[in-house]
Symmetry: C2
Subunit: 277 residues, 2 copies
Amino acid sequence: MSTMNTHPLDEAIALTETAPGRYTARTHPAYANAVGPFGGVTAALLLNAALKHPQALGEPISQTVHFAAPINDDILQIDANPVRTNRSTQHWLVQAFQQGHLVAMCTAVFAVRRDTWSAVDARFPGNLPPPDQLSPLQWSKQPPFTHCYDLRYISGMVSLDQAMRDGPQEQPHAESSLWVRDEPPRALDFSSLASLCDVFFPRVFIRRQRWTPIGTVTMTSYFHADSQTLAQIGSAHVLGCARAQVYQNGFFDQSAEIWSADGELLATTHQMVYYKD
Amino acid sequence: MSTMNTHPLDEAIALTETAPGRYTARTHPAYANAVGPFGGVTAALLLNAALKHPQALGEPISQTVHFAAPINDDILQIDANPVRTNRSTQHWLVQAFQQGHLVAMCTAVFAVRRDTWSAVDARFPGNLPPPDQLSPLQWSKQPPFTHCYDLRYISGMVSLDQAMRDGPQEQPHAESSLWVRDEPPRALDFSSLASLCDVFFPRVFIRRQRWTPIGTVTMTSYFHADSQTLAQIGSAHVLGCARAQVYQNGFFDQSAEIWSADGELLATTHQMVYYKD
């Protein structure tokens, strides 16, 4: 792994092959979260193990990540296995271990994309201020990984000032919109898109306007754009829109869309998150 | 397996244990789809392999199914493996084989539910006609499994009469609402709920008002209710609301909610579906 001109994300998802489909990797301090690495970079790392596999077919269509246990700042052993390859679709199982114990896994569908009738039913939000009219989020107490993203919230951020002044005020919903790109800038690809799918603050923070212990248990992302479309976006900001549907018995669901600035729906993503009162 | 007073769904998801976590099962003619079994019953079968496992912890929180290959009307070999068990959460991998080849798999999260602050951000649709004011869907050409559901569409069905008369008329969206229950009636539990998550006609049929070749490649369902809540619903109709967000390069995403009649959000579910022009 060269570090010269290498983006921190590429360092964080770097794999050393030890046998076909078997790799070692190492957690990266830049992408540290409060406990263990940022989930998005774990998603990107697991996806990369399939992307780099010599038998990979086509491009990612979906990924489901399981955050099975806390990941220590240490080496990971990764097994990537194309469990079923068809003519134009391929199903993956990727498992990551530390000291012989499973800490994360993902399944994925890869496929050869084809030109077909296409349509978008989801509505691209209009009348948004462009990224250069908004300030990037600055807050020194954030976990380190937040410095790896240029986050420009349009709406739905936790209002710390207000919470400090008035105490936490529950909001009627947990919708957020923000412009986001890698920091430093990096051309968009499936690795960074997979990671961006987890960049939204946990919806329970927004809904309750306070921090509570949380942890994503599983995240599913659907990739709607091909690699060429992603490459054309380059390092421009993309738009993320997130919300939750229900918080119940210690778990809430969170859904989000990631759009290009000109209204192409790049990814839709869903996760179940553990939370404590 | 006794067939006396046994519901067809329970026959279809019946497992014969051959070793701890290893089972055989058999496809059921009542749940046949156009090709192979209805995806919902495959989801329920794979989930059942975890539910019946002696090491199962708590109740299902999420399930992601991969429909890896066509399933023949034959025996399935199923391996269920709790790949990581924590204090209150457990991660599962369940794989189904025919003639030694993987045909389907699922991952799942099980957890011990706790009383917490809870809220629902999703809106329960109001002013709906009750199920007894609607006729169950009747159409002899449907695949067999549709006879296993009492489907009462409120909106967003394919209008065959109109399509026959005027040719297919593309619709501006693919939203549907319907009341649904097992037919014959059966008390709701996680098995039937997992299956119901796949009961929606493929959104591309609704959007384009015509049949096209399709196949779900992966489906993720989040279960928000506990077993007690499901048991209280019994065999009453539940409300399903489905839509798509984007159809692109041969794949579309589909999202749905399943509500109890009195407005409890039981499950949210998402899938990626292959389609041909």
